[in-house]
Symmetry: C2
């Protein structure tokens, strides 16, 4: 790894910030910190915007004061807010006082909105046009204020009271006649989001409508900012990473795999693992309750892992499908009944298909009684698992919990215990124990 | 649902294609087809580009011939190719002959590249500038060819042999002096992809570098197209949906949840479920091998679901983390050893932590022997599970299989059987059976 440390710092010529940031993210924390401290000034300037907030903080700790200010001033307001979230409060307030009034104002604007809202990821730095302007006025406005705006491709149009009228795109200005009115160029259909809307909802709108940016409004439709497509992509990426982590019963580590210590990996997993283990002890109770049945027919034990395994997988399939469909807003909590009917049917069919095969195999290798027990259990477990796997994410959303939290592993654990119960109740009945 | 059918078709005034498409995707197949057939022409024109290829095909089956051609002509080439993929070959060739020569040519260009490559999702319709042009030449070129290009925000610059020189953005033209040379405005750092590059790699570059579009080149750096950010977002979305589906041991259904029949849901799950069940039968074999041990100490059976459950969850945690890190290109196959060391350590720590707690609890409720067996098993199973869960995705990539395929459920199934083996070997040793 020492190799790599030298590797990066000795190539100030390679100016591709993406590659450098990617290499940095493959270094363990200590080495990364050392590398950042060794980085030549011009490379830091080039790569800073690509760094994780934590690393940006490290950089700011190690560069001269004037560069700190230069780097902070150069950031987009939403990125700066993101960085500040990774800093101690006193440091933030000290840095704030050193920002130019304009940048400080922008930062405070964003910080006024809760985390994960459109207001937090928007840029308050945009060029706004007025409906009455001509195209040439508009272009003049763009040229005059370019360096004050994050993008000039999407230009919000607002009235004198800053109420959003619509947006025009730079393209429209370039192609229209100079004396055309801005009013005439406003895009249809019109889209906008509230500063208090969820960042993921905002990002999905940008994606679905193929927008470069969507205007952000406060109450009375007052224009306050713009969320750009690049921020939307980052939001979707981090939301997906979060959902996937949760689906695997880990807390998101929030940054690149190699860039966190093994201890941090343990911390991201131990809580979930313990909770699931605790819930798993239910299976011990169920089995103790049926210990006499087990002693009578030990061969019943042979099918325990297989049956609860299949149940767990069926439940995981439903949960994964539903959680994803909820994330992409295809399913709402109101669909609970509709979902249960579909998933119940799907689970029943899956269970029946597997059950038939199981009956043929088991009745040959073991005996008809065991075969009957296994088959009936499969049918019920699969139906049950699909119902549990599909309803739990919806219930989670209803009580305000992230549906991704109750996906595969949680469902599997729930199905394990109930599956055993089903198995032994059927066994006891069939065997008349 | 009938309600909804009327709902959509009676609101030609609501022209937001996003909302209409979303509503359509919540209808079962039959109702959706009926709705599409009832849709007024102007609404079809508005919503067509937002429809799933399958639904676009349905529409084309039901509208007059001239509208078919109009709709096809209006599509971006990459979307048209996407649609053709959902059509029978003979129909494609018939439609191709009716396209304008230019659109046909574009479509054939894209179809020449394999699925899931940059070449398939690029647009061959772009405005290219030459290094020697002045800014005003460039702007004139943009105005002249606007309707021939999918975007005018990113303008590739190429020499007379069509070799890519770089890109300029419309912004640069608008802000530069009219007599400035295009050469001078070329963006740094320069990015481009090969037409044969994977579509996900292309999309992630666009995301990482915050690009609006990236130029696509053939051999000799010959410029052939442009991949735009909106296509990149769609690629990432579908790749992520695919990964998540695989992580849940289902085949991606490739469209909205309610828009597919329960039978199609069954088909997307039965194959994986059967394969996993087949692999799961290994657990039956392991248990039969130790049936005598079980008969001697039935209470051993009590911990089977709990132990393999914990093992499965630990493996799922590793697998999920690694698969995601591979998708975002933080981990390469070359990192196998590095990953194994980290995950082995993490698994060992997790196993030790749970083992200690287990020992205290079990030795109180049951006896020291059982407690010892459970603890040792936990430590070994967790370490083993982390190693399996982290290595399988990497091995999959090495042999050219999608790593997402061997995530949580597969790992869990593998860990189940090996976990049981570990458990009973330890038990036999400790109990001297």
């Amino acid at each position: 790894m020492r190799q790599k440390v030298v590797d990066i710092t000795n190539r100030p010529t390679d100016s591709d910030p993406i590659k450098i940031a990617a290499e940095l993210n493959r270094l363990e924390p200590k080495k990364r910190a050392r590398t950042l401290q060794q980085m030549p000034t011009e490379m830091i300037d080039a790569v800073f915007w690509q760094l994780e907030p934590e690393d940006q903080a490290v950089v700011l700790d190690n560069v001269p004061h004037d560069q700190v200010i230069r780097l902070l001033e150069s950031m987009d307001p939403d990125d700066r807010v993101h960085l500040f979230q990774a800093m101690p409060a006193d440091l933030i307030s000290r840095l704030m006082t050193q920002l130019s009034p304009r940048e400080r104002h922008c930062t405070e604007l964003l910080l006024a909105y809760p985390k994960e809202t459109a207001g937090r990821i928007m840029t308050p730095e945009f060029i706004r046009l007025k409906p009455g302007m001509t195209v040439s006025d508009g272009l003049a406005e763009v040229r005059r204020h370019r360096d004050k705006a994050e993008t000039i491709y999407v230009l919000p149009v607002s009235d004198d009271a800053m109420r959003l009228v619509g947006v025009v795109e730079l393209e429209d200005l370039v192609l229209a006649e100079p004396d055309e009115r801005i009013q005439k160029l406003i895009r249809e259909p019109q889209y906008s989001v509230s500063a208090w809307d969820d960042q993921e909802v905002t990002a999905r709108l940008i994606q679905a409508a193929d927008l470069f940016a969507v205007p952000v409004v406060e109450k009375d439709n007052r224009l306050v900012g713009l969320v750009t497509v690049d921020d939307a992509m980052d939001v979707l990426q981090s939301e997906e990473t979060e959902d996937i982590a949760r689906a695997g019963a880990t807390e998101p580590i929030g940054r690149a795999y190699f860039s966190v210590s093994p201890v941090r990996l343990v911390r991201s997993r131990i809580v979930w693992l313990s909770l699931l283990a605790l819930a798993g002890t239910l299976t011990v109770n169920v089995l103790s309750a049926f210990e006499t049945t087990l002693e009578a027919v030990v061969s019943l034990a042979l099918f325990i892992p297989l049956l609860i395994g299949i149940g767990g997988n069926t439940g995981a399939q439903s949960a994964t499908t539903i959680v994803r469909a909820m994330a992409t807003e295809e399913i709402h909590t109101g669909d609970l009944l509709r979902v249960l009917l579909r998933e119940g049917l799907v689970g029943l069919i899956l269970g029946a298909l597997l059950g038939i095969i199981a009956f043929l195999v088991v009745s040959v290798i073991f005996d008809r009684d065991i075969a009957l027990i296994v088959t009936l259990t499969l049918i019920i477990i699969c139906t049950l698992a699909s119902l549990v796997g599909s309803s739990m994410p919806l219930f989670a959303r209803i009580v305000g919990v992230d549906p991704a939290v109750v996906s595969a592993p949680v469902v599997t654990t729930v199905v394990d215990a109930t599956g055993l119960l089903v198995y032994f109740l059927i066994a006891a009945t069939v065997l008349g124990l």
